[in-house]
Amino acid sequence: MSAADAPVRTAAVREAIDSLYGDYAALLDDDDYEAWLGLFAESCSYVVIPRDNHDRGLPVALMRCDNLDMLRDRITALTTANEYNIHWSLRILGRPRITAAADGLFDVGCSYLVMQTNQEGQSRVFSAGRHRDRVSLVDGLARFEQKKVIVDTFCIPTLLAKPL
């Protein structure tokens, strides 16, 4: 392990990044988008991309927000305009794995599974895939600087309205 990786091993970093991902999952499960948006840095990009495109180097995404304003627009559309299948979502994230670090920035990956439950109480696996992110740590507070969600379940069942 190189010296640059050393901060990864500190308990404080681990704790801050675990909290970020815990908040990410819980706030989305609660449809609390305003608080959820607070987890992103202003310049953060948010991209949801099908795995086959990603693996073949093709850039087309399902959601592509180049900055936080575009992500805010996506949330405004979701909450004021778009119609979608009425459901609750619930996600399980794997433990975040910190793969690299430099200058207070960390590359972080984790797996996810999102279930959808409809109004009749029927649940289905809606999406499986991985997060591949860059996270900053300033004064002990972790924020997303880049978020890429790589979707294994890229033949999307019904539709994709809420962020993954």
């Binding site: 949801v48 099908p50 086959d52 495109n53 073949r56 093709l58 850039p59 087309v60 995404a61 399902l62 959601m63 592509r64 927000c65 180049d66 900055n67 304003d69 575009m70 805010r72 627009d73 996506r74 405004t76 559309a77 004021t80 305009a81 778009n82 119609e83 979608y84 299948n85 890229f154 033949c155 999307i156 069942p157 019904t158 539709l159 994709l160 309205a161």
Partner: protein, 417 residues
């Protein structure tokens, strides 16, 4: 056997729900539509640029491979081994000198001709194929292929009309408009919907629903029924082009028209309006052109988002939408970036398209228990089917059902077309 169809009217303004659900209807569609006289969209030449390149696709639900032979020509064949019927080419895409079935390693060339059979003479003179086995009679079933501006079509029929006659001059011109210079594929979006394939086809052709279901459009004032536009069809009404002109109405006109439409016309503003802005790139001023080719192909310009849609069938109760997004080869980098941003508008997570999946699943669920009832297609009036130069109509859906019924042999007596 097919149940007799009860048509409430003979002008295709009432369509019995049974056509969306009956397993026997689906079986008949395979034979009479997809193996019948239809030319089906299979893919784009840009996806298989080099000799040996291949891509798997479908004709309805029939698995097909398109590929480029050593001679540079495009060939297509049914992806099912002539021996025991296993899938031959299992990869989605790639490059192959030969296509080999993994089961018993029968190998085929780019035209689907059988090249080799392991142990065809047996071992030590024992076993193997009979003396009279003729390899030339055991190839993969070929499709006839024709290409229009780099768009690959195929047919399983030996006796249908040539592709350009099937499309007609108006549809041909619109495909040539979209593919007027070389393209580059930027990626794919896929979606599965628990509904009937024909409901999805109707949905794309239906201009009436667009600004009502897709409330993003009216909420942010992007595309509204008050814009100038309409629908055009070929002579037999089987295909259609729906179109509208960019920036051809005013906010006030729209507010008046939508007062009783019960959609949320808040005229909200986007923080990043550049994402939805139309950069003019055609002299005709059309910001939206949707070309529908019977049965399951669409060639789409939505603002500056360019894509094809292929409907893939999986029985009467499930469909897949396979969307291929592209740019032009000579697009400057910022135009490619703009098109990639506009991919936010389309597909399963599309700001102006996600609702389609929900609408189709809801109608499929609700119509299943009452299949003698009919849907009503009467926006733009009933009677004779003809072009319209206004947007609030669904007349091209009746054109689709007219040709569909003809192919299926179920048209009502004295049909009005």
């Amino acid at each position: 056997m097919q149940q007799p169809i009860h048509w409430e009217r003979n002008d295709f303004s009432r369509i019995p729900f049974s056509l969306l659900h009956e397993p026997s209807t689906f079986d008949a569609e395979r034979e009479r539509v997809f193996k019948g006289p239809a030319w089906m969209f299979l893919g784009l030449e840009a996806e298989i640029p080099s000799n040996g390149d291949f891509r798997t696709t479908v004709a309805g639900d029939i698995p097909v491979v398109i590929n480029r032979g050593r001679d540079g020509q495009v060939y297509a064949f049914v992806n099912r081994c002539a021996h025991r019927g296993a899938t031959v080419q299992r990869e989605v895409c790639g490059n192959a000198k030969v296509h080999v079935c993994i089961y018993h390693r029968w190998g085929y060339d780019h035209q689907g001709k059988l090249l080799g059979v392991p142990f065809h003479r047996g071992v030590d003179g024992r076993g193997g194929l009979a003396e009279d086995f003729d390899k030339s009679r055991h190839g993969l079933r070929p499709l006839r292929v024709d290409i229009l501006s780099g768009v690959i079509f195929g047919t399983l029929s030996d006796e249908n009309e040539p592709l350009r006659d099937y499309l007609g001059p108006m549809i041909t011109a619109h495909i040539e408009r979209l593919f007027h210079k070389p393209i580059r594929v930027l990626g794919y979006q896929r979606q599965q919907i628990d509904g009937n394939w024909k409901s999805f086809v109707e949905n794309v052709k239906d201009t009436y629903h667009a600004s009502l279901l897709h409330t993003f459009l009216s909420t942010f004032g992007i595309d509204r029924a008050t814009q100038r536009g309409g629908v055009m069809m070929d002579d037999r009404h089987r295909h259609s082009v729906t179109y509208s002109y960019a920036n051809s109405d005013t906010d006030d006109a729209a507010r008046g028209a939508y007062t009783d439409a019960r959609v949320r016309d808040n005229s909200l503003k986007l923080r990043e309006p550049s994402m939805v802005s139309y950069r003019p790139e055609w002299e005709d001023g059309r910001g939206l052109v949707l070309t529908a080719v019977f049965p399951t192909a669409f060639f789409m310009q939505i603002s500056n988002s360019l894509h094809t849609r292929q409907v893939r069938l999986a029985g009467p109760n499930r469909l897949e939408v396979f969307q291929t997004i592209f740019c032009y080869e000579d697009d400057p980098p910022d135009m490619v970036e703009h098109r990639l941003r506009q991919a936010n508008l389309i597909g399963p997570a599309g700001l102006v398209s996600m609702e389609d999946g929900e609408a189709i699943e809801q109608l499929h669920r609700a119509t299943a228990p009452d299949q003698a009832a009919s849907e009503v297609i009467e926006m733009g009036g009933h009677g004779e089917i003809s072009d319209r130069d206004y947007r609030v109509n669904d007349v091209s859906l009746r054109g689709f059902w007219s040709y569909y019924s003809e192919l299926m042999g179920i048209a009502p007596a004295g049909a009005v077309r």
